[in-house]
């Protein structure tokens, strides 16, 4: 789960910066930190002041959670002046801020949180800023606080699509909030940080010669001394008994659930019990691992989908390095029927030297696989006379995570698609509205004027819980766009987590909408 840093020189006391950011470097490592420090986030607030706070607190709280871990730069675009009502919900204003520019005041108090971060404020009206959208070029993440005038929202979204910049649309009012993410049309993630329990890949049913030789070298397990018998690593125990099983089953490995439980019993029965512990830990581990590890290799949907994409099938001189490596891995898969070996070995009861030897068998196979992928990457580079050489480290990281790589495909912000009356979006919404505990009406209620569109869509639909729907609409109407600090703070935390995932290209961001209900304490994540 924690990212591994590269091995430091023998005595590497942490630098002042490493000390300050220690608790987060354990999550996204130096590479993630560098990406954060090189980014510039734009926060857009439509200052329309009196009755509604325009989700400004959700936006400013998001920035707080990005300034602390040291985002490089942030800019607040907000033409409003600070009112007394702002002081009751926004922590980054003081009584002296009254009547001043809200963007300037927030910028200053946010900057105080971290001297490593640069803040900027744009106080002219948004319409001025949008006269020339090229003003938006410096930003690699845009956060819009809703509501914004529709035409302006559209300009931001279209700019973001055009330049492959990510955009998050945030709304918070009363006990409810939502955010939607507009990702670039192609958003690949190599370092998805999968659950450590799900990444084991021991290849017990497709062992390579060196691994098989190691199991064969055990010769006859029954002849081993007790101490040695109790220290055979479980991966080798399973390989050893798989060979035995195959001898009795026409060369076939256990396949069905019944086979596997029988195989597990066979392994369990082989443990020696005439000792003080009444069993052997390594055999316990082996039996426990049967169902998970005695399975043919299969690739996950994320990887399969990646292979199916045109960008992966057709490589040319303009292909991004991601797709060149992906294509190389695809050809590896087509040749061998497996992905490159990740090469890590889980801890297992064993003598130190035996474990390290086995670990090295996995590692050197992984290196061999990387070399094969690298070779096909290099030949593609040559074929298309590419100038930028893809780094070995990038190929290695891709191979290591190949099974868990994801490619998300962004499309126009759902709110705009709803506005456009997009048929597919309507279909998805209609389906979602039939779930009894759906929170989707909250998002629709946030979108001004969508009630009539909604009523059209769901008229006389017996599967829809109209009471729940009406209550959610009534609650949104009741609070009239007024923020509660707590809800905006929860939301600012959620949006900041997503922003960090997008900027570092680590972990998987929400695709594409999340709705939070602070009354029930629940969320809904859905792809609209």
């Amino acid at each position: 789960m924690t990212a591994t840093a590269t091995t430091p020189p023998p005595i590497h006391a942490p630098t002042a910066k490493e000390k300050k950011y220690d608790r987060q470097l354990r999550l996204w490592a130096a590479s993630g930190q560098q990406a954060l420090e090189e980014s510039h986030v734009l926060l857009v607030i439509a200052g329309n002041g009196d009755v509604c706070s325009g989700s400004s607190v959700a936006g400013v709280e998001t920035l707080k959670n990005l300034v602390l871990p040291s985002i490089g730069n942030f800019t607040i675009a907000d033409s409003a002046k600070v009112t007394e009502a702002d002081l009751g919900i926004n922590f980054f204003l003081t009584s002296q801020s009254l009547g001043q520019s809200r963007a300037e005041e927030c910028k200053q108090l946010l900057e105080e949180l971290n001297p490593d971060v640069q803040g900027h404020a744009i106080t002219t009206p948004l319409s001025d800023l949008l006269q020339d959208p090229s003003h938006l070029r410096p930003y690699n993440l845009i956060i819009l606080c809703a509501p914004l005038p529709q035409e302006q929202r559209r300009i931001f979204c279209e700019h973001a699509q055009q330049y492959s910049v990510s955009l998050i649309h945030v709304q918070s009012a009363g006990f409810y909030s939502s955010f939607s993410i507009q990702l670039p049309s192609v958003f690949p993630i190599v370092d998805t940080h999968p659950d450590p329990d799900s990444i084991q890949d021991l290849r017990l049913l497709s062992p390579w010669p060196e691994l098989l030789a190691e199991a064969k070298a055990l010769d006859d397990l029954d002849k081993l001394e007790d101490h040695d018998h109790g220290h055979v690593p479980y991966a080798l125990i399973l390989l050893y008994y798989l060979e035995k099983w195959k001898q009795n089953n026409e060369g076939k490995a256990p396949d069905t659930f019944k086979d596997k439980t029988q195989f597990r019993d066979m392994v369990r029965a082989a443990a020696r019990t005439d000792n003080a512990e009444g069993g052997e830990e390594n055999f316990d581990e082996a039996a426990a691992a049967v169902l998970k590890t005695v399975a043919p290799f299969s690739i996950k949907s994320g990887c399969r989908e990646m292979f199916e994409k045109d960008s992966c099938k057709v490589i040319n001189k303009d292909s991004a390095s991601f797709w060149i490596i992906a294509a190389a891995i695809k050809s590896f898969y087509e040749t061998h029927g497996v992905l490159p070996l990740p090469g890590s070995l889980p801890d297992m009861k064993a003598k130190s030297a035996d474990y390290i030897k086995l670990q090295n068998i996995y590692k050197s196979k992984a290196r061999k696989d990387v070399a094969e992928v690298a070779q096909s990457v290099r030949s593609m580079e040559k074929k298309f006379s590419r100038k930028d050489v893809i780094l070995d480290g990038e190929i290695e990281a891709f191979c290591k995570n190949a099974a868990h790589v994801k490619v998300l495909e962004g499309s126009l912000l759902p709110q705009l698609r709803i506005e456009n009356g997009d048929v597919q979006t309507r279909k998805t919404m209609l389906k979602e509205l039939q779930n009894t505990e759906t929170l989707l009406p909250i998002l629709l209620a946030f979108e001004n004027g969508s009630r009539s569109q909604l009523d059209d869509m769901i008229a006389n639909n017996g599967k829809i819980d109209f009471e729940a729907l009406n209550n959610q609409f009534a609650e949104v109407e009741r609070v009239g766009g007024r923020e509660l600090h707590n809800i905006s703070s929860v939301t600012g935390g959620m949006v900041a987590q997503e922003a960090i995932k997008i900027i570092t290209r680590q972990y998987v961001p929400v695709d594409n909408t999340c709705i939070f209900d602070g009354i029930g304490g629940t969320t809904l994540v859905l792809k609209l």
Binding site: T4, A5, T7, P8, H12, A13, P14, K19, K20, Y21, D22, R23, Q24, R26, L27, N65, L68, P69, E84, A85, L87, G88, I89, F91, N114, F175, H193, D195, M348, A350, S352, A353, I356, A474, E475, R478, R482, E483, L484, H485, N486, I487, S489, V490, G492, G493, M494, A496, Q497, E498, K501, V508, P509, V510, C514, G518, I519, G521, T522, T523
Partner: protein, 431 residues
């Protein structure tokens, strides 16, 4: 107590315009008997609340309460500010390093939000008695220590007097790790308590000593060896201080030497620190989510303007399947909870294990997690950690087998000086 008007002085309500407006209308989800308006606001302002912890969660909690209309807030924390806090504990600056967290945090929020009174206490929660805890309307915990949580939980449970509804203090608890966290609402004696839920927060299984001593395989095994075995052998008399860079460097080098001897790659200074100090990754955004979720519950409980959480929300921000998800559910109150239940908890044991081994196992059992327990039966003292004389007197029992000390199914009372309550376990023999 001062009336809220007096606390406010001449300050106008303009600042609280949005809050007042939301509290002056009625949500469709509010209880039918709920009457919105001025009384609710007055009640909220007069509610004295206690915040335990002024760290990552605590800083956020203080800010949130101050901006939710609470005016009388107390905060307890025994820690001082460290440089590694600055990436998330946003009320502290470089120049505050070394000062009391509770005091700096309180002063900061008081100056930022006029009209809010925050009373800091720089010390331990165990310094305070029931009279102290009785003055609060509710308690919010933002702690990283399970022990402190268990202590305040059992204290609040034991304070409940059925005749006095005011003696029931809702406990709202938050915790985070990396991109994940949880918020829970506990009504002591009424709903599932921290102790009922203890097995959901099982401690990580310790690496067996024989692995550390003779067959290390992972860099962590080498670090644990340096920490648990080598330090005591080679630096006899030195008390290990995990905040002392010289000590960490020594452990790091010792672990590195051992790793070289066994050809184990991967020991780093940062990993050494992480293992030895049991460092949990922490980021501002997760603290923000959990702290605000907790304060949102405090706000709903204090105003009754909407129903509160029943009773547990788990937040996962690093799901590789959906990006994030929450799991909200009602954790169950357990009849055999050692704190809020009235039945003894059953533990199955091997009767041939010694009392010493049983005591060691209590630290790791998910439902117990007791580090320094003392044990007695109805009739005899089995083992006491203190006072010294009693410890010496009961020490020989540690070598005896459980079957020679107890009958099958006998109840033992267990106490741990770190916690405020006696646990009752029924020990059933197995095998």
């Amino acid at each position: 107590m001062d009336s809220p008007q007096a606390v406010n002085g001449m300050e106008s309500r303009a600042r609280w315009k949005y809050l007042d407006s939301i509290l002056s209308t009625k949500s469709p989800y509010a209880d039918p008997d709920y009457i919105p308006g001025e009384d609710v606001i007055t009640f909220l302002e007069s509610s004295r609340v206690l915040v335990i912890g002024a760290g990552g969660l605590g800083c956020e909690i203080l800010k949130n309460l101050a901006l939710s209309g609470f005016k009388d807030i107390h905060v307890i924390d025994m820690d001082t500010i460290d440089v590694s806090n600055l990436n998330r504990q946003f009320l502290f600056r470089q120049s505050d390093v070394g000062k009391s967290k509770a005091e700096v945090a309180a002063a900061f929020v008081e100056s930022r939000v006029p009209g809010v009174k925050i009373t800091p206490y720089n010390g331990k929660i165990q310094d305070k008695d029931e009279d102290y805890y009785m003055q609060f309307k509710l308690v919010i915990c933002g702690l990283d220590s399970i022990e402190a949580r268990r202590w305040i939980n059992s204290t609040l449970v034991s304070m409940v007097d059925m005749e006095e509804p005011e003696s029931l203090k809702p406990l709202i608890d938050g915790g985070t790790e990396g991109f994940k966290g949880q918020a829970r609402v506990i009504l002591p004696t009424v709903s599932s308590c921290i102790e009922c839920q203890l097995s959901m927060h099982a401690p990580r299984a310790a690496v067996p000593l024989c692995t550390l001593a003779s067959i290390p395989r992972q860099p962590q095994h080498c670090i644990e060896w340096a920490h648990i075995i080598a330090w005591d052998e080679q630096r006899k008399g030195d008390v290990l201080d995990t905040d002392d860079p010289e000590h960490i460097t020594w452990l790091y080098k010792t672990a590195l030497d051992r790793a070289k001897q066994f050809n184990i790659p991967g020991v780093t200074y940062s990993m050494t620190q992480g293992v030895v100090k049991n460092i949990i990754p922490a980021i501002a955004s997760t603290n923000a989510i959990i702290a605000a979720a907790c304060c949102n519950e405090a706000f709903k409980i204090a105003t009754s303007c909407a129903p509160y959480l029943e009773n547990y929300m788990l937040y996962t921000g690093d799901s590789d399947a959906s990006g994030l998800y929450t799991y909200t559910f009602a954790a169950e109150k357990k009849d055999d909870c050692p704190v809020c239940g009235n039945l003894a908890q059953t533990i199955r044991i091997d009767p041939d294990m010694t009392l010493g081994e049983f005591i060691a196992s209590l630290a790791e059992r998910a439902e117990a997690q007791l580090k320094k327990p003392s044990l007695r039966t109805e009739s005899t003292s089995l083992y006491y950690q203190a006072p010294k004389q009693l410890e010496e007197q009961t020490r020989p029992n540690l070598e005896k087998k459980m079957r020679d000390l107890l009958t099958d199914g006998e109840e033992v009372a267990v106490s741990d000086q770190a916690l405020a309550i006696d646990f009752r376990y029924k020990l059933v023999f197995e095998r």
